[in-house]
């Protein structure tokens, strides 16, 4: 019974995973950033996904401004 409270819906889990790997974790200042495509894979929680893409774009932008190329 204990495990029932854990969410096992695939789409929700994917959103939770992407939200973490794209917006959280250790960052290297001025690091290179990979473009992320294929965003239609996630169709739930679009708000989260968009926020993630925005973060990636912001990182690219910052890199462009500083001219850093690690």
């Amino acid at each position: 019974m204990g495990a029932d409270i854990f969410n096992k819906k695939r789409d929700v889990t994917i959103v939770e995973i992407l939200d973490r790997v794209l917006t959280k974790g250790v960052v290297i200042s001025g690091d290179l950033v990979i473009s992320v495509a294929d965003i239609d894979l996630v169709y739930l929680g679009v708000r989260l996904l968009l926020s993630s893409v925005e973060t990636m774009e912001q990182l690219k932008l910052n890199k462009g401004k500083t001219g850093t190329d690690a």
């Binding site: 019974m1 204990g2 495990a3 029932d4 409270i5 854990f6 969410n7 929700v12 889990t13 994917i14 939770e16 995973i17 992407l18 973490r20 790997v21 794209l22 917006t23 959280k24 974790g25 250790v26 960052v27 290297i28 200042s29 690091d31 290179l32 950033v33 990979i34 473009s35 992320v36 495509a37 294929d38 965003i39 894979l41 996630v42 708000r47 989260l48 990636m56 990182l59 690690a70």
Partner: protein
Amino acid sequence: MHKLIYAIIHAKKESVCRLMNFDIGIQGIKGRELSAVSFNDIWAVVSDAENKDSEMNNDDALEFAAVTEELSHMFTLLPMRFGSLLKSDAEILKVLEKNYDAIRNNLIKVEGKSEYGLKVFRNSSDIIPVPELAEVKQAEGNSVYKNYILNKFNEYRADETLLEYSEKLKTEIAEHISGLNAVIKCNKVTGGNNVYNAVLLLEKEMTDNLTQTVIGIQSCHKELNMMLTGPWAPYNFVDITLK
């Protein structure tokens, strides 16, 4: 060819050697071989990666997360954000050396712990009262501008009511969880019916206690829909930007 960094781990040399010898069977994204760069007792787990302009997709990001998750079962680690690339092992070594103290402090903070996500949903119409009848009547006789102001006021009042409810729930959940010795970070609710959104960091062996606590809260509040996720690597509890 660049280097994609998955995580920074704290480990003895023998454990990392086992990992690199594929005794454990983890591969990087796109089936690439994992390798490790070390400075003292910290290691960056990396694989070769495409050049910076190449595109990766969501599947790559999910594979990346899977590697981090596998590693988190074996080591205390700091997960890297997807897309962190450096040009060479030598550059990674420089970064590890320069940031050694901050990395060690963060590793100590998360040692033996896992992250969990807890979101709570409730039909917001259960919380927000329907505007009082008198106000509605008043609205009917008003100009467009006055109705606009009145609507804005109602929206404001609805937001306030929701916020007040969320704050009460935060306090109640914190009381329930207080015995678990967890670090709780409350995030902004995501809108809609989301009334609580938090991440927790707690000892790995406390997972069952957390589950039971959440089940306990759920059974006291049938009107709530609780969503617990995890265990995760401590993505939300690393406080470091490597320079």
